[in-house]
Symmetry: C3
Subunit: 247 residues, 3 copies
C-alpha cells in the first residue's frame, strides 16, 4: 500500500514479531527501537480494538522530525514520551486518505498505511485528520514497580525471541548504590524462588543459570544463559517478579 501511494519510499520493517494483542510489548519495542532509526513517519499496529470506536492517531512529536501513526490505545505513548511529547495530534479515523471501502478489521492496510504514506509525501497532519487535544491521547496503562529497601516488586514488560524477560525496573529506581556485578540475588516468580547473579552479559553465568542484567535499552532483564528465562520461570508480559538480595 505504501509503495503504491509513495513509490520509492524507504520502508524499514522493525518487526513482525510482537505477540498478538500485546500492546505493552509493541509499545516497549517501538520506543526502544525508534531512537536508533532515522527520523521519518513511524507506523505501528497492535490493534485488538480495530473496528470499535477507538480513535486512529497521527502524532507529530516535540523533538526530532518524526510522526507516529497507529491506533489510540497506548501503543504509541512511550514513543511519544521518548521524543518530548505531543506537538500536534489528529484523529485519522475518517481520513480522506483512507482506502475505500474501508474494512472493519484491517486498518493497517486501509487507514494507517495510506495515511503514513501521504504524510511521508508531505501532507500536513491537518489534511490527514481532525485535530485532537494532546492530553486526550491514550496513555499506556501499566502497573508501577514498587521499590522497597530490601526488594523490588516489578513486572514483565516483554519477552524477546530468546526468552529473555524485560522488567519495568531500571538502575535509577534502586535505592542506594544499586547492584554490583556478581551480587547474588533471589528472583521470585510464578510462586517459586530461584538463585540468580547480577551480571553484564549472558556468558557471565554458566549455561542454564539465571542472570539479572541491564539490557541494551537500560532496563533490568532476566536471562538464562543458553536457555529461555521466560520458559523456565513461566513468565509472560504483565506477570509480577520480585528481585531481592541473597544473603
Amino acid at each position: 500500500v505504501i509503495e503504491r501511494i509513495a513509490p520509492g519510499s524507504t520502508v524499514i520493517d522493525l518487526t513482525h514479531g510482537i505477540a498478538r494483542h500485546q500492546i505493552n510489548q509493541g509499545a516497549a519495542v517501538l520506543a526502544n527501537a525508534l531512537p536508533f532509526a532515522p527520523p521519518g513517519v513511524h507506523l505501528a499496529v497492535v490493534d485488538p480494538g480495530v473496528g470499535s470506536p477507538r480513535r486512529a492517531l497521527a502524532v507529530r512529536v516535540a523533538e526530532d522530525d518524526r510522526v507516529l501513526v497507529g491506533p489510540d490505545n497506548g501503543l504509541l505513548w512511550p514513543s511519544i514520551e521518548r521524543f518530548g511529547g505531543v506537538a500536534e495530534a489528529v484523529d485519522v479515523s475518517q481520513s480522506p486518505f483512507r482506502l475505500e471501502p474501508t474494512s472493519a478489521t484491517f486498518h493497517g492496510r486501509d487507514v494507517f498505511a495510506p495515511d503514513a504514506a501521504r504524510i511521508a509525501l508531505g501532507a500536513a497532519l491537518g489534511e490527514a485528520g481532525e485535530p485532537i487535544d494532546a492530553d486526550s491521547v491514550v496513555r499506556l496503562a501499566s502497573p508501577a514497580p514498587a521499590i522497597e529497601s530490601e526488594r523490588a516488586i516489578c513486572h514483565v514488560v516483554s519477552v524477546d525471541g530468546y526468552g529473555n524477560v524485560v522488567l519495568d525496573l531500571t538502575a535509577g529506581l534502586l535505592p542506594g548504590r544499586g547492584l554490583r556485578l556478581g551480587s547474588p540475588l533471589i528472583v521470585e516468580a510464578s510462586g517459586a524462588s530461584r538463585d540468580a547473579v547480577f551480571g553484564r552479559a549472558f556468558a557471565d553465568v554458566p549455561a542454564g543459570e539465571l542472570l539479572v542484567y541491564e539490557d541494551s535499552n537500560r532496563s533490568f532483564a532476566l536471562a538464562l544463559n543458553r536457555g529461555s528465562a521466560a520458559g523456565a520461570l513461566g513468565l509472560a508480559p504483565g506477570d509480577e517478579v520480585i528481585v531481592r538480595p541473597r544473603e
Copy 2:
C-alpha cells in the same frame, strides 16, 4: 538473486508465513494482497512438487501491467482470475535465464527468481520460456460451498496468524437479504456446535466469544475475540464448517 540480476529493483516481501505445502492458503493470500500492491512482476512459491514434471509458469494477466511467476500447481490461479485471466503464458522450466546448475529442490532460487528478475528488466515472456495454452494452466482444486435455505456448508480457506479462520463464503452467496449485524448463529465444526454472533469487528463480542464477520477481503470468517478461533474449533485449511441461524 534478484538484486544480483536486477540491481536496484524494489523487492517487496508480501509474506514468508504461508504454512508449508499449503497451496490454497498461499493462493488466497496472494490474490487478496495483489490488488493493493503496485503493478509489477509477482513471484510466488509454494511448491511441494518441485523437481517433479510440474511446469513453471510466467503469466501476463489481461488487466493491469502484471506478470505472475511461480509453479503451475494452482497457486497463481486465483490471482490470474482476479486480473482478468491469462493474456500470455509460458513454461519457464527450461528457461535460458535459469541459474546453472539448476538444483532439483530450490527453483525459487534457480528458476523463478532469475526469470522474475529478467522479466522485471524488460525481457519478453517469449524469451523466458515456451508458449503454452492459456487453458492448460492448472486451476486450484477447491471444494465449492453449498448454500441451502437454512444453512451454508462451507470450507476453511486459510487460517491467519491470529487464528482467524477464512471461509469460502461471501455475502453474495447467501440467499435473501443475508445476515444482519447481531444475528445469532450456530457454527458447526469438528463435530461440535458453538454459538456465534454475526458482527463487524472483534470487539463486537466479549473476549472469548465467537464472531462470524466479513473480513477485510470480503470473505466470511470466524474469530474468537482475543483468542484463536482455529485453536478453539480445531480447524485447519480444507475442513468443513456449517453456519446456520440460531432460533
Copy 3:
C-alpha cells in the same frame, strides 16, 4: 542503524530464522547464500558469547569484493573459506564507529551494524579496528564425517523450516561411484533404523516416506515428502546419522 549511518543503502535480509545460539546453522546458511548474493558488506550475528571477551571481526576475503562482519566464533568461517580465505582482518571490538554507550548484550545494533555501514560507505578496515593475524580467526568446530566402505557416519548441520535435515556429507566423499537414483538405503538416527530411497526431489517418494537427496547446496539431506524428517527422526543440529545401503 544502517539506514541512519548510510542512508539509501540496499539492505537485504537473508534470514531471521536461525535457531537461537546455532552458530553452525547460521554459518551454513550464510556460506550457502552468499555466492548467490551480490558482493557487498555481509553482516551476520549469532552471538551467544556477546559481552564475553570474544573478538568482533571485519574480514575482507581473498576472492570477490566482499567484507564479512560478525562475532569471531566460527560463524563467518565457512563463508571466508568459500571466498578464498582472509585477505585482511581486523578486530572491531573497540571500533571508533561503535555506538556509545555500547551495550553488553546487543552488539548487532551497537558494534556490527555501525561498522558494516561505515565500511559500506567506504571506510578502510584499518579505520574500523585493529589488524589481527589471519590465522587467529576462529574456525568452526564441527565433527568430521567418517566414510567407511559400507556406511557413512555423518552429522546434522542444520534443519530448515520444512524439517529437511542437511548432513555434512557430499557426493565427493562417497567411495566408488556413489549412489544411483532409486538406490534403497537405511538411515540410522536417534537409535532407530528407517528405510529410505536415494532420489532427486521430494515428489520422488510417496507422501510420508523418507528421501535421501543432494540438496540445492550440493549437500546430502534427508526429507520426508510432505512431512518433517527432523520431527519424524528426532534430529537436531549436531546429531549423528548413519547412512548405508539396503540389501
